[in-house]
Amino acid sequence: MTRQEIETAISKELNRIAPEIDMDDIDRGEDLREEFDIDSMDFLKLVTALGKIFRVEIPEADYGQIGSFNALADYMAGKVAT
């Protein structure tokens, strides 16, 4: 899976949770929850959905590493590669 494909998949899931947010309007290096206006429940939903799509385990202990869109994409790229 290419980096582009990973980002597209994440954007698609984010769009299901916060459809009013335009990907072009957000800062990909900033706090993901704030940029997309998502609460803890939405965040959990996102992580669960991504876990299913990428068929990977995302333990709660790793949530600190996926704080921004870029960090999340990096994390997923690392997971998919291993």
């Binding site: 206006d37 609460d39 803890s40």
Partner: protein, 581 residues
């Protein structure tokens, strides 16, 4: 009961603020409790004086009042002296900008120090403080500012731009917008004014019945209700903090609630400070490791949190907690919705002590029914009424209200009014307020029962309100926002069970002719609702129906939608005129 009673070790009771529940209850009076606050000359008082000034006057100025942990993890400490200095400056800024006694000062902020300073500085100036939750969208913000008649608001440039700027023209009474971090057209940058202001201020002596706080709560129909609380409420905040949360001077205390909700004000600002504890305030949202770090590293003694957070911690597993040492932890409490017995037991196994569930409402201003340090815990029960609070299980019939005294009888949870933090009204809505009282009882709207030992048990809600992640959400507010979309003909909104959040908001939508249900339209409606309502209120699930069940008068039968969703008996459907399709 399926769960064993959690017995307290013999030493727990005598060591806590309330050693013996029955004895305290028998001897308690609010007049006596009033002596635990200092007050101001001539029978006046001010919440902020009890929270800050009296401790500084007594020589505790160097104690840390607030330890703020930024998202980055950086900590900033504010002593009681610092808080006095800054709240005085804020009160002076308000004065200088023409905000006076009785004016309404709102906050729309995340958990940053300015929020706490503004809350207490506003009270010092004799103005009314009204906190708004920063995850609200523009519509809930607008209705709450309109109803309350906001005169000033303190917010950040980001929140202003996203949520306030667009509705400002509809708020004629709003004279002042303070931004904590920038200067924008039509706003006032707070920081330079704070720097220039004097650090001394004579805290405004208030009449005990003067309004101090305005908290909004949702109704099943119509607009949100502005719940009025007065300065006298501080007596209840202080006392309940002492008895129900076992707060002691010098404790490290962490209340995870946001001040945008009543818990985050009564027990996230007022009660901890009047009891002279050190409050931990975390700017960040829930995160398992961060939370365990916080409890361990900050050596938290008393922790007040919510069922949704506890269930998220449970989900992460015991292992995440087992590598930690919570040596300082002494007391844990939970509020927002009933804590399921599994979570109480899990707390006991994981932390070596149970979560102490308690029950209260925005209207009651403070904890009414609780599990106490000195009392055994029955997992799943909300506990027993606070000293000074008379609670009953009441049935209302044509003949009026009748208390049901036989054990386990089900009825509406009701309270005898008269405690200091009881609401004094719904703003501009006398009729709605009057409806809360029947034959000398305040009717809570919750169904409950009392067992033979006097423990109260939550049974269900007596109305259509939704409790999601501990937040009370009115279906009408959500329905109204969806109705604004051009494709929508009718909407019914209910809460559906969710294992983590308790309930989530689900909307049933029927479309106008010419519109076909599709995934794209569903996402469009979701975005529409989120933009207006914000993530805390917007539905998490939207489904389409050809028609919604309605009464003859056209009222959508949420009750029926819910019964069907849950697979429960439909009950009396004699008023059903047009059914769901």
């Amino acid at each position: 009961m399926a769960y064993d009673q959690i017995r307290k070790s013999p030493g727990t009771g005598p060591a806590s603020n309330m050693a013996d529940y029955d004895l305290t209850r028998a001897t308690f009076s609010w007049a006596e409790a009033h002596k635990s606050i200092d007050g101001l000359p001539n029978g006046k008082l001010n919440i902020a004086y009890e929270a800050i000034d009296r401790h500084v006057a007594a020589g505790h100025g160097s104690q840390i009042a607030l330890r703020w942990v930024a998202k980055s993890g950086v900590r900033t400490d504010f002593t009681y002296q610092d808080l006095q200095d800054r709240t005085n400056r804020f009160a002076n800024v308000l004065r200088a900008r023409g905000i006076n006694r009785g004016d309404k000062v709102y906050s729309l902020l995340g958990r940053v120090p300015e929020l706490y300073i503004a809350a207490l500085g506003t009270l010092k100036a004799g103005a009314v403080f009204c906190p708004l939750f920063s995850a609200f969208g523009p519509e809930p913000i607008q209705s709450r500012m309109e109803i309350g008649g906001a005169n000033a608001v303190i917010t950040s440039s980001r929140l202003y731009k996203r949520k306030l700027k667009g509705i400002r023209d509809s708020l004629p009474e709003l004279r002042e917008v303070f931004l904590i971090d920038a200067d924008q057209e039509g706003t006032t940058h707070l920081a330079p004014l704070m720097d220039a202001a004097s650090a001394s201020f004579d805290t405004e002596p208030m009449d005990p019945e003067d309004t101090a706080l305005l908290h909004f709560t949702s109704g099943t129909t119509g607009k949100p209700k502005g719940v009025v609380h007065v300065h006298e409420a501080v007596v209840a905040h202080h006392t309940t903090g002492r008895f129900a949360l076992d707060l002691r001077p010098g404790d490290i205390y962490w209340c995870t609630a946001d001040p945008g909700w009543v818990t985050g004000t009564s027990y996230g600002i007022i009660a901890p400070l009047t009891n002279r504890v050190t409050m931990i305030v975390d700017e960040a949202e829930f995160d398992v490791n961060r939370w365990y770090d916080m409890l361990e590293r900050e050596a938290v003694n008393v922790w007040y949190t919510a069922p949704t957070a506890i269930r998220m911690l449970m989900k992460a597993g015991k292992e995440a907690a087992q590598s930690r040492e919570f040596r300082a932890l002494r007391f844990m409490a939970s509020v927002g919705e009933p804590l399921n017995p599994e979570a109480v037991v899990w707390g006991n196994e994981t932390f070596g002590m149970p979560f102490h569930d308690n029950w209260w409402q925005t209207e009651t201003g403070g904890i009414m029914i609780a599990n106490y340090a000195c009392m055994d815990v029955k997992p799943g029960s909300m506990g027993k009424p606070m000293p000074g609070i008379d609670a009953g299980i009441v049935e209302v019939t044509e003949d009026g209200a009748k208390e049901l005294t036989e054990p386990l009888a089900m009825g509406e949870l009701a309270l005898r009014p008269g405690w200091p933090s009881m609401m004094r009204g719904y703003l501009h809505e006398q009729a709605r307020y009057d409806k809360c009282f029947v034959d000398g009882w305040y009717m809570s709207g919750d169904l409950a029962m009392r067992d033979s030992d006097g423990y109260f048990w939550f049974v269900g809600r007596g109305n259509d309100l939704i409790k999601s992640a501990g937040h009370l959400i009115g279906p009408f507010e959500v329905e109204s926002a969806l109705m604004e979309h051009a494709a929508v003909a009718e909407v019914g909104v209910i809460g559906v069970p969710d294992e983590t959040a308790g309930e989530i908001v689900k909307a049933y939508v029927a479309l106008k002719p010419g519109n076909a249900p599709s995934d794209d339209l569903m996402l469009e409606l979701m975005g529409h609702a989120r933009k207006r309502l914000g993530p805390a209120v917007a539905p998490k699930e939207i489904v389409f129906r050809e028609n919604l069940p309605k009464t003859r008068s056209g009222k959508i039968m949420r009750r029926l939608l819910k019964a069907r969703e849950l697979g429960l008996p439909e009950g009396d459907i004699s008023t059903l005129e047009s059914d769901e399709k």
